[in-house]
Symmetry: C2
Subunit: 388 residues, 2 copies
């Protein structure tokens, strides 16, 4: 708990959207700005080892998703990262013409797939969320799924679906934005092909922090980075005319590393020092089990949409309610921060690094009070009039 800065009087159940501020970040960022940039200036690319930031961060993320750091690239947004892997996947299966995405996925995954399909003359096929592998066929180049659903918190069976994709000759990509850092992920054991994840949710890297990309070393020698920027060159500072990709994931890089954002992220990941993924999962399930049990016992008129089965649950709990928007706003006014998703979902994330069972009980106390006092019907909270 001491590893995070959390405001007084707030119970923060939105770490699945924007992680809380790790205690080490402000000092690190001030040092990077004032000493490394201000005093070191251009010399800091060498002296402060700015160029190595992506690789150092990769080494910290890798154990959270069951891979080697050298197989991870850090940089660009989640959306750009997905574009790169989706284009590469399509080019690895030139005899296949279909990208399969789940219609309830976080929207950017579907939007990017549609853009890639349009650019390369492919077909985007929506699968049934209840059985995504039914959409597989010998025309499918890539199945791309979000591991944990951002609305419901439902988790796909990563190894089984990966095996099914491979059995159908397709490549398998996992979007880990809503799982890594709170849920065990073992990409190596599942032998998936691609994974992309953001770092500002359970990894606490700060608003809009850079995403990461993993590519199975089994296929790294075959994939081609479509956005061949200078940092992916085998010798960027030779400034040669012609592009020559660096080997491995160094060749997956594109632009100049975003040093300020990467420095904040590196400091943020120190919060995972000495913490095992298994322990995080134990704590996460303890928190979500307790929240579900408290809802069952104390709250009526809601429909919990998050699976009760552990194997199918991420680290959030969501329920439907016709006034979900008003409920979330009334809770925020009380200092209990969750969020709302169209049209009627109230969503609560349980970041196992900084939440306690006392937080869970107190949050439900507030929810019970909101409903009893009908605070969610108060026009100040009930009317949707802005982005949330």
């Amino acid at each position: 708990m001491s590893g995070f800065h959390l405001p007084e009087g707030v119970i923060y159940l939105d770490g699945n959207s924007l992680g809380a501020l790790p205690a080490g970040v402000p000092g690190r960022l001030a040092d990077v700005v004032e000493r490394e940039w201000g005093e070191g200036l251009i010399r800091s690319w060498n002296d402060a080892r700015w160029m190595e930031l992506p690789a150092r961060i990769a080494d910290r993320i890798a154990p959270l998703v069951g891979v080697r750091g050298e197989d991870v690239h850090v940089g660009e947004s989640t959306s750009v990262s997905l574009f790169k892997t989706m284009v590469a996947a399509a080019r690895l299966r030139p005899d296949r013409t279909v990208l399969v995405v789940e219609p309830g996925t976080f929207p950017t995954d579907g939007y990017i797939a549609a853009g890639v399909a349009d650019l390369l003359g492919l077909e985007l096929r929506w699968c049934d969320p209840a059985d995504p592998t039914a959409a597989l066929g010998d025309d499918v180049a890539l199945l791309s799924l979000t591991h944990v659903d951002f609305r419901s918190g439902a988790m796909f069976d990563l190894p089984t679906i990966t095996a099914a994709a491979h059995a159908a000759g397709a490549l398998m990509q996992w979007d880990l934005c809503h799982s890594a850092g709170a849920v065990p992920v073992d990409l190596t054991a599942a032998d998936a092909d691609f994974a992309v994840g953001c770092t500002y949710k359970y990894l606490n890297g700060g608003p809009g922090s850079p995403a990461y990309t993993w590519i199975n070393p089994r296929i790294q020698g075959q994939v081609r980075n479509p956005i061949t920027g200078w940092i992916g060159h085998s010798a960027p500072f030779a400034m040669a005319r012609d592009f020559d990709a660096a080997p491995g994931m160094r060749g997956w890089a594109t632009g100049t590393p975003p040093v300020l954002a990467l420095s904040a992220l590196e400091a943020a990941l120190e919060a995972f020092d000495g913490v095992s993924v298994a322990d995080l999962r134990t704590r996460s399930l303890e928190l979500t089990d307790l929240f579900i049990a408290q809802l069952d016992e104390r709250v009526t008129g809601i429909e919990i949409v998050t699976p009760r089965e552990h194997a199918r649950r991420g680290s959030q709990v969501s329920f439907r309610h016709p006034q979900a928007y008003g409920i979330v706003q009334a809770l925020i006014a009380r200092g209990v921060i969750g969020d709302f998703r169209d049209p009627d979902i109230a969503r609560f994330g349980f970041a196992p690094l900084y939440l306690t069972t006392d937080d869970v009980r107190a949050a439900v106390d507030h929810l019970v009070a909101v409903l009893e006092n009908e605070e969610h019907l108060d026009p100040a909270y009930a009317e949707r009039n802005a982005v949330t």
Copy 2:
């Protein structure tokens, strides 16, 4: 001068590679991290107006390049930005198959063009730097040039070349990385089609800060963003299944805005408050004229490769010398920071916001001393053994 933090004893002639630290950045970034992120948490997307950062920054960059803020997008790296515009340009001219780039361009421009050509089945044609328009023809979709050459500091005639490209039916893109913020640019008067620029050189946004993209409003309704991420959606928070591009440059956005980097950049751009581009140019030419005159008068054995004609000069001066690497290293040891570019170029940038004529004279004093004392031949400086 008071608007920047510069270390004691340093004359910084590398602001064309990484701009110095504007005085307002550390405080702003600390506030964003500790108060907006730490205290505001997810609420700051609304309360701290994080979502509006790109548009606010666009409004600050626009007058430096002669355009309207609403026609500028801020986000992603220069390399990703170039990829997006090059793909879009190729799709605007489907009956043409050639992308033209200058072989001495900053390498990422050529690398990205090669990648786009490979992806879309186009041809990459290298033009003659002395006459880039000679490569135009009825097969050319896009001519993409860097306004100021990163090695020599030579500047292309932006309006004349733009007109020639249009006369040949091609689209015209300008890379402004090495000009905007120090050299007047009027994209509107020239009626160019696309422009991309980084913000960490003369705009002082910090290491790896996000790039900007301008698209002429004349063609915004026709171009399609190839990387259709959720922030470019007309209603991102509706989280609809299907992509529907926002109008204008809002539809050019891709990923979640990188808030920390954007906040630093916004604070950095305040250094341009009350400064006219014309005054910057006057100061820049005063500095480079003086440096050239001092070199002519006091230094032998070098070949100045930067044009002496004002209309053909950016805001840097470069010279060739067989021991250019040793000279640059020996100068750095004396606190005069320039940089070296393969194979024999010593390069000195003159950021008009924070350099004085006294700095120029003192820098040449050091250069004269380095050569007289043969410090550039000292093995400690003369041997190249690392990236620079």
